[in-house]
Amino acid sequence: MSGSERRDKMAARAEKRAASRAKRAVIARLARYFFRFKFRVLAAFVLMVGSNLFALLGPWLSGRAIDAIAAEGGPDFALVGRLCLWMGLFYLASSAFSYLLSALIIRLSQTIVRSMRQEVFDKILSLPVGALDRVQAGDLINRISYDIDTVNASLSNDVLQAASGVITVIGALIGMIAVSPALLGLFALTLPFSVWITLKRSRSVRPLFRKRSARLAELNGFSEEMLSGLPTIRAYGREGRMIEKFALKNTEAVDAYYRADYLGSLIGPAVNFVNNLGTVLISTGGAFFFLFGLISIGDISAFLLYARRFSGPVNEFANIMGEIQSALAAAERVFRLLDAPSEPADPPGAVLPQGPGQVRFEHVRFSYDGEHPVIRDLSFTAEPGQTVAIVGPTGAGKTTLVNLMMRFYDPQGGAILLDGQDIRTLSRGGLRAAFTMVLQDTWLFEGTVAENIAYGREGATLAEVEAAADAARIGDFVRSLPEGFGTRLTDNGVNFSKGQKQLLTIARAMLSPARLLILDEATSNVDTRTELQIREAMAELMRGRTSFVIAHRLTTVENADLILVVKDGDIVECGRHDELLGQKGFYAELYAAQFE
């Protein structure tokens, strides 16, 4: 072995050790959830042992009963009756116990899983916005539903199965030894087959199934992509070519499925064969022993039943371990999310902002990734009641300023002052409460119109809600609906147009007593009538508030007290309309291109 090979091997081994350490940590953490419910765990353990032991008594009793039937001089009916009665009772008790057990475990795991889901959700809410911007909604949803479900299934099923499997295997082994050590020797011949099946499953079959899923996911991804582009494919008449491409991927997918299936379909018959082989060995061997008077038929029957109980869990072993593995991986993903740092806590002595609403940027420097500077050195002052217009092409990073003012992100250098106080010394809740905002994507949730508007201020009365709606020019429309302010906004929001939704968010902002306003003016998707209403509502909202407007209208820009020009995420110019025009810089160019 060369040195580098040895190093590789050692590295691989170290990696393995680290992985198993991580796995142990996950298990320990999961166990902590369980230990909150010590008594229930203890009760579950007692039920599990009881249920399995009762079930294991059955074969022994049935063996005795058969012997009593086969007794010299005819069956001993009294004894047989008693034995059968006991057998029935034990089996019934075993079933009852096992149902109680699963009920207990289901409730226990549901309690645990529910608290886990709540923890994850609360975590999502507490993450810094910057961290949330980097993950996708689908990923979060996967953790909170699919991953936690996997953990749940494993907690309520696999762990139980594994634990009772161990008890059953040990119990059955003891039973077999008690009945006939000689037959056990014969039965042991089937063990290599069981081992083979277990290895085959974990080494060959599972990877093939993973590959199958991967190919299938690829195919599904392809068809989703193609269907999303259906109009384009249609417009260029490219259906035939796409069908050919699909057929190739389809062949790969069904082939991978077949290969997994091909090997997987070996397992069922192989397990049956092992069972049958056991039957063959035990009955033939048993018959021989019986011939020489070494064993009774009752013993053979009892042994057969024990052998069955023994093989069941042994052959399922590989499956259960596989499931537990994937549950651990899922739990790890959940824990990783739970361990992500939350928004840092407010500094001690954080105060609520109070004052007229002056905002000052002092040499602010900021970058999202620490590499590409977005704001290099920005200073300006917005006096109370003034309007600041932020202009620039789409996607230029106009929301960065909003992110900084609301402390969704903190700048790397310089400071932002609200009424003379560094906003980092203010409480986050208080700072954010000092702002009210209307963003471009109108965030409304499933609920009534009144609930959506009242979201702007906890404890708002219906009268206040109606007043806000009127101020936002949407009150009359809402009242014209059959259910008025009780109308539910459905998911796809068919009952409200885009412009009307925007008016609802303006109404929500109206309710807030905040002195500072952040407003996104983008309204180009709305017809002229609604646009007029929106403009009036926005003007009303801006009255008396220090306003930061992501501007799209010339009037807003021209009348603004200060214009910030953003380009490629950078504030390139800053001043009043005529000053900036006079500079003949980017603003002048923009102005010419957009409004000429």
């Binding site: 009665l85 079933s95 529910r114 999502i124 989703e224 269907l227 039957t279 009955s283 789409t394």
Partner: protein, 594 residues
Amino acid sequence: MRKIFGYLSAFKGRMAVGLSLKILGTFAELVLPLIMAYMLDEVAPAGDAWALGLWGAGMLVCALAALWGNVAANRMASRVARDTTERLRDDLFAKTLRLSAAQTDRATIPSLVSRLSSDTYNVHNMIGMMQRLGVRAPILLIGGVALTFTVDPVLALVLLVTVPVLTAVVALVAGRGIGLYGRLQRSVDAMVRKVRDDYTGIRVIKALSRTGYESRSFAAVNEKVSRDETRAALTMGASGPVMNAVLNVGMAVVLFLGAYRVSDGMAGVGDLTAFTSYFTIILNAVISVGRIFVNLSKGAASAGRIAEILDLPEEMTALPDLPQEEGEPYLRFEHVSFSYGGKAPALRDIDFSLNKGESLGILGATGSGKSTLAALLLRFYDPDEGRILLEGRDLRSFSRQELREKFGVVFQNDFLMAASIGENVDFERDLPEEQLEEAVRAARAEAFVAEHGGFKGKLTARGSNFSGGQKQRLLIARALAGRPEILILDDSSSALDYRTDAMLRRTLTRDLSGTTVVMIAQRISSVRFADRILVLDRGRAEGFGSDVDLMRTCPLYGRIFASQHGGDPEAPEEGARPAEGEGGAGPAGEGGLA
């Protein structure tokens, strides 16, 4: 299901062989306990060790036969399932791509995707399982019961009684379980919606300090999920213990009655042992019958959903016999009206014409019918009333291919594939390389294409490694590469910076003199250059003419100009109309192309 049988019938022979092997193997397994009973009751007491050995070997042969038969049959089944699914899925995909736009709208894209993915998967699963377990379980059940009758009819009756009881348990639990799981799925959906809602609204939630409220409202949804899941799991969890209890108590009864049968000389002790084996076999069979039913009902529902699509009639075929009109302008919309699926009309009485080489701008708000007009021009849909003439020929008289070769299109949010830049521009048309280069140059995409490694440079899914403006330029290059007669650009320069936009417009007006450009936009500055501008408002033409004409004649055009250039939009509006609710009037209209 009939459709699936149609596909399966191609593999009749293979299935028959598989079936026979399966029956053979299963029967070989079933006789094992019978041989055992015979050995214990007849051979062993006779003291014939040789015969015992022989019978033992016989059992081994049976066990091996069972292994071989089942494995061979299972493989045959896998192969049939693979080939059937492959054909079915290919056909479904082909059919899906060839549906008319109206059919696609009705079925909806997400539903078509799930039919292609999860439904074909369910069918694949079902075909495999039906051939394996679907054959095996009934044989075990019926064969097992039949064989016990040959052993001892009286004791077999006990077993026979347990079968309906077990079946009832399985049916009951499965029946209730399906309902309970359906309810669980709905509450999980609600939970997922909550997470998604809060994820998108996190800024608002934080700005309004409502995290506490959100956490409490999630707790309610979470609680409901847990409650539903507990209920479903408790129901499903009952079947195992109940079935075990029934079967084991049945076994105790058999033993007790067996004592009398043995004492009467009607049965041997070995027979009783055989009975205990059959009990286990039958228990397993009943359990798998339960699984088969779940699988079968799922698969049948999926097969139904697949057949729904496959059975859709072919729409929008060409009508070559329509007359050729003489002396017509290049393009003409003749009193065209259209509505999506009989809803409120998306276009009403559109009537205009365009001469060869003239460019057309279409201006209007969202839902005014701009994209619908483009869809009609591409013949994604046929008008409800009126007709569209291209070179004097009704659009419906063109063959699909003939028509599609005339167009280059860029839709709103158009689609880029996870493939190379070259493949995306070429779009499976096998265009010559220099034509692609020319298009990339014309679309002002040369510089960044070179930066990304030329035509071989890769795009990630949805082109997320390119900026919005770059993506639009790639799409425009794709549209230009086919040297189309008509170029349709639907709101496809919105992400370009103003300078690039202006340069592009220059290319379109100067260099593409032979091409009819149709430019759709919400911004007046994007369409002002066009020779003719159509102003749409809620599906009606409010004006048609050049920029200069419209400024004079079309009040809406003036109002849009004023609004977008910051003037007072109210001024030109004569007799302000009452602000009746416009909800729902238009926005649905653009759905077809989204």
